[in-house]
C-alpha cells in the first residue's frame, strides 16, 4: 500500500502554488517568455478545480452521472451578482453573498434532487442535463432580474476592512483567496471521504442494493451528496463572479462547461481528488493558458496566416493556427487516455482495486 504518497504530493503542490507568487522571479520569467502573467490566470483554474471537486463528489464518490453542474455554478455566480452589484439595493458585499450563493445553489439542488434522484443511471444524467439547460434559459430570459445577456456588472471584490488590497491590479489577492478556498474544499472533502458518510457513499456507488440491505438510506445518501456538490458549485460560482468582476453571460454556464469538467474528472481519475486537480490543470491549462501562448508564438514566428494551397486543396486560415486544431487535439488526448488508462492519470486506489477483471461483468457505475 503506497497510499501515503498521494496526499504528500498534494501537499507539495499546494505549497508550491502558495509560494509561487512570493518570488517575483517566477512570474517575471514566465512573463518575459510569454508576455502573459501565469499568476493572473491561475485563479480561474483554482475555481474550476473547486467546481470539479464538487462534481467529483457526485460522479466519483456516489457514482451518479451528473451533466448539469454548470447550472449550480451559474446559480452561485448570479446570486453573488444580484446581492452585490450597485444596480440592486442589496449590496451586502462578498463575504455575506458567498454563503448566500452556496445556500441558494444547495436549495435548488434539494428542490431538483428530491423528485429526480430515484431515477436510475442515464435517466438521471438526462434530467441533470435538462435542468442545466432550463436554468441557463431562465437566466437568459428573466431579463428583469438577471439582466439577461447583458450580465450583471460590476461585481465588487471582497471587502477587506483592515488591509488595503488592490484587487484589480495585483493578481495576488485573488490568487490567494481562490487557492485558500481550494485548499479548504480539498481538505474538507478528504475528511468527508474518510467519514461515515463518505464510506456510505462509496457503498452506494459499489452496490446500491447491498448498501440498502445493510440498512443505509440510499435515497437520503444520494440527496446529501447532490446537495453538497451543488453547494460547492455555488461557492465556485460566487468566486468566479467576483474574480472576473461580472456574472458573465448565461452561456458561460451551458452544457459544454459541464461536459468539459466531466472530461477533466475522468482524465485525472474519477473519485480521486489529486486526479481531479491534475485533470483540471491539464485540460483548462491547455485550453486557456497554453494554446493562446502557442498561437502568439506562431504569429510572431510566421506572421499572419495567409491562404495557401496544398496539392490543390485550399488550406484555410483555420488550419494554420493552433486554435484551429484544439478540438482535434482534445479529442485525440481523451481517446488515447481512455484506451490506455481508463481509470485516469491518478486513479482512486479503491476503484482501481475493485475494477472488474472478468470481461463479462457489467461495470459498477449504474
Amino acid at each position: 500500500m503506497n497510499r501515503k504518497v498521494g496526499p504528500r504530493w498534494a501537499l507539495v503542490v499546494f505549497l508550491v502554488l502558495a509560494i509561487y507568487p512570493l518570488f517575483p522571479a517566477f512570474d517575471g520569467w514566465f512573463f518575459a517568455a510569454t508576455a502573459r502573467s501565469l499568476g493572473a490566470q491561475m485563479p480561474t483554474l483554482f475555481i474550476f478545480a473547486i467546481l470539479a471537486m464538487g462534481l467529483n463528489l457526485v460522479v466519483g464518490n456516489v457514482g451518479l452521472l451528473h451533466l448539469g453542474i454548470a447550472a449550480f455554478f451559474g446559480i452561485g455566480a448570479y446570486t453573488m451578482g444580484i446581492l452585490t452589484v450597485p444596480a440592486y439595493p442589496f449590496e451586502i458585499g462578498f463575504w455575506l453573498a458567498l454563503p448566500c450563493g452556496i445556500a441558494a445553489a444547495a436549495a435548488v439542488g434539494l428542490f431538483i434532487g428530491v423528485p429526480t434522484l430515484r431515477l436510475r443511471g442515464d435517466y438521471l444524467a438526462l434530467v441533470t442535463l435538462g435542468f442545466g439547460e432550463v436554468v441557463r434559459f431562465t437566466l437568459k430570459n428573466l431579463d428583469a432580474i438577471t439582466a439577461g445577456t447583458r450580465s450583471l456588472v460590476p461585481v465588487p471584490p471582497p471587502a477587506t476592512p483592515v488591509l488595503s488590497v488592490d484587487w484589480l491590479q495585483d493578481f495576488r489577492p485573488f490568487y490567494y483567496l481562490t487557492l485558500g478556498f481550494l485548499v479548504i474544499v480539498y481538505w474538507m472533502l478528504g475528511s468527508l471521504e474518510r467519514s461515515k458518510l463518505g464510506r456510505a457513499w462509496v457503498a452506494v456507488r459499489e452496490d446500491e442494493l447491498a448498501a440498502s440491505c445493510m440498512g443505509l438510506n440510499v435515497s437520503r445518501l444520494k440527496l446529501s451528496a447532490f446537495i453538497c456538490s451543488a453547494g460547492i458549485a455555488g461557492l465556485a460560482g460566487g468566486l468566479y463572479a467576483s474574480t472576473i468582476t461580472s456574472t458573465a453571460q448565461p452561456d458561460a454556464y451551458d452544457f459544454n462547461r459541464s461536459i468539459f469538467l466531466l472530461c477533466c474528472l475522468i482524465l485525472g481519475g474519477l473519485g480521486s481528488r489529486n486526479g481531479v486537480l491534475l485533470g483540471v490543470f491539464l485540460l483548462y491549462g491547455f485550453d486557456q493558458i497554453l494554446s493562446p501562448i502557442v498561437d502568439e508564438k506562431l504569429q510572431l514566428a510566421y506572421g499572419a496566416p495567409i491562404r495557401r494551397e496544398f496539392l490543390g486543396i485550399p488550406i484555410s486560415a483555420q488550419m494554420q493556427t493552433f486554435a484551429g486544431w484544439r478540438l482535434f487535439l482534445f479529442g485525440v488526448v481523451l481517446i488515447v487516455m481512455m484506451r490506455y488508462r481508463p481509470s485516469g492519470l491518478i486513479p482512486n486506489d479503491r476503484i482501481k482495486e475493485e475494477l472488474p477483471p472478468d470481461p463479462d461483468a457489467r461495470p459498477a457505475t449504474k
Binding site: 501537499l11 505549497l15 518575459a32 447583458r150 472576473i244 486560415a317 493556427t321
Partner: protein, 414 residues
C-alpha cells in the same frame, strides 16, 4: 523509503530556485511598441474578425511596422489575441479579462484594439481604464458603453474607474442605426413590422432602439420576440408570424446568430412578399452565403454606418484604402469591416504620433482628443464621449446576390 524524500527535495529546489534566480530585467529601454487586438478568433465569428485583422495589418504595413516617436524609431509589434476558447466556441468573459490583463501588465502595450462584442467590452474597459491604455473598438455599437443616459443608471461611469475616457470607437452607435432603420422601413412603405432579436447585448439593444423610434413615427409593431440563436430552424416561429401578415421583419442580430436562417424560413413558410431588415451585424458576405442569393434578392436590407466598398472609390481616403488593399492582398475588400480594422489601426498610429512619446497616458489623451482626422470615408473627430462624429448611415440592399448601396439614411422625423 526514498520515494518519500522526493517531494521534500522538490519543494526545497523550488524555494532555492525562487531565491537564487534573479527577476528578469525590466524592459523599459526596449524599442518596441505593442498593439494588441482582442476578438473572437475561434468559432463562427471568425470570418468577420478575419477581415478586421486584415485591415489592421494593412494599416500597420503601410508604415512598415515602424514609428518615429520623439526622434527615436520604434518597431511596432502587433498581436492578434483570441477572446474565445475552443471549448466554448464563442467569446468568454475569462478569456477577455485575461487578454485585458495581459495588455495592462505589459508596459510595451500602448493600444488595445477591440472588442468585437459589446458584452466583452464591458469586461475589459474597466481593467484597461485604470492603466489608461487606449482602447479602440472597430465594432462595438451598444450606445451605453460611451453615452450617458442611454444604457443603465451608472453607464458609462462604471467603465471609467479612473474618471478619464480611454475608450473610443470608430463606428456610429445603435442610437443612430436603429431609428434610421425605422425611418427607412417607413420610406419603403412598410407600416406593419414584426421585430425579432437574438437576445444578445447588441441585437436586443438595436432592436429596442428600432422599436422605440418606429412607434414614435407611426409604424404598427405587430409583435416582438427573442429567438434562441442556437436553434437550427425557426419554421414554427415564422408560421406564427405569418398569421400576422407583416410587411417587414426587423431582425436585431448578426449573421452568427442565425440572420440567414430567419430569412430562409420566412420565405419557406410562404411570406414571399415580406421584406427583412437587419443592422450592420448582418452586413457581411457570409450573410449571402448562408441565406443564398435567391432568398435575399430584393428582399433583404441592412443599415450600416459608413460607406460600402463599392462607394469607397469616390472618396480620396477610400480610394487609397482600396488600392492598398488590392496591392497587399491581391483582391478587392469584400467586407466592409476591413475598413474599420484599418481605421482603428490608423487612429492608433495617429494617437502615438500626436503624443510623440511612448507613454500610455499621453497616447490615451492624444487618442481621445483626435480632431479632424482624415479618415477613410471623410474627415471626422472624436466627441467628448469617445464617439466618432462620422454619422453617415448607408442603406444597403441585396441585388443579384450582391450587397449594393441603396440610399443614404438619416433620422429626420421626430
Amino acid at each position: 523509503m526514498p520515494l518519500r524524500i522526493v517531494p521534500a527535495l522538490f519543494l526545497v529546489a523550488f524555494v532555492a530556485a525562487g531565491i537564487l534566480i534573479p527577476a528578469p530585467p525590466a524592459q523599459e529601454n526596449s524599442n518596441v511598441v505593442k498593439i494588441l487586438s482582442s476578438m473572437p478568433r475561434t468559432g463562427s465569428a471568425r470570418g468577420q474578425t478575419d477581415t478586421i485583422v486584415d485591415g489592421i495589418r494593412l494599416a500597420l504595413n503601410e508604415v512598415e511596422n515602424r514609428i518615429d516617436l520623439d526622434g527615436k524609431t520604434y518597431r511596432i509589434e502587433y498581436m492578434d489575441l483570441d477572446d474565445a476558447t475552443a471549448s466554448a466556441g464563442d467569446w468568454t468573459s475569462e478569456q477577455e479579462a485575461s487578454n485585458a490583463r495581459q495588455a495592462q501588465s505589459d508596459p510595451d502595450v500602448m493600444v488595445y484594439i477591440g472588442t468585437y462584442n459589446s458584452g466583452a467590452a464591458k469586461i475589459s474597459m474597466p481593467i484597461l481604464n485604470r492603466m489608461k491604455v487606449l482602447m479602440i473598438s472597430p465594432a462595438n455599437t451598444s450606445p451605453g458603453l460611451t453615452k450617458p443616459n442611454q444604457g443603465e443608471r451608472d453607464e458609462p461611469k462604471r467603465y471609467r474607474p479612473s474618471g478619464e475616457v480611454n475608450y473610443v470607437r470608430v463606428v456610429p452607435t445603435d442610437d443612430l442605426q436603429g431609428p434610421a432603420g425605422a425611418e427607412w422601413s417607413l420610406d419603403m412603405g412598410c407600416k406593419r413590422v414584426y421585430i425579432l432579436d437574438d437576445n444578445s447585448v447588441y441585437g436586443k439593444g438595436v432592436a429596442d432602439l428600432f422599436e422605440g423610434h418606429a412607434r414614435k413615427i407611426g409604424i404598427d409593431i405587430l409583435g416582438r420576440e427573442s429567438i434562441d440563436a442556437k436553434a437550427s430552424e425557426f419554421l414554427s416561429l415564422m408560421t406564427k408570424i405569418a398569421t400576422k401578415q407583416p410587411q417587414l421583419i426587423y431582425f436585431g442580430g448578426t449573421t452568427q446568430t442565425k440572420a440567414g436562417q430567419v430569412a430562409k424560413d420566412m420565405v419557406k413558410v410562404g411570406m414571399k412578399d415580406c421584406k427583412m431588415m437587419g443592422p450592420d451585424g448582418t452586413y457581411e458576405v457570409a450573410m449571402i452565403q448562408s441565406a443564398s442569393a435567391e432568398v435575399l434578392n430584393g428582399r433583404f436590407f441592412c443599415t450600416f454606418g459608413g460607406l460600402t466598398p463599392d462607394k469607397l472609390a469616390d472618396t480620396p481616403g477610400g480610394k487609397t484604402f482600396v488600392d492598398n488593399y488590392k496591392k497587399f492582398y491581391g483582391k478587392e475588400p469584400a467586407e466592409a469591416y476591413a475598413l474599420y480594422g484599418y481605421e482603428c489601426a490608423r487612429v492608433a498610429l495617429e494617437a502615438m504620433r500626436r503624443a510623440n512619446k511612448k507613454d500610455r497616458a499621453a497616447i490615451c489623451k492624444a487618442g481621445r482628443e483626435i480632431k479632424d482626422f482624415p479618415g477613410v470615408t471623410g474627415t471626422w473627430s472624436f466627441d467628448e464621449n469617445g464617439d466618432t462624429t462620422q454619422q453617415d448611415m448607408s442603406g444597403i440592399a441585396v441585388r443579384n446576390g450582391q450587397f449594393v448601396f441603396d440610399k443614404k439614411l438619416s433620422v429626420t422625423r421626430k
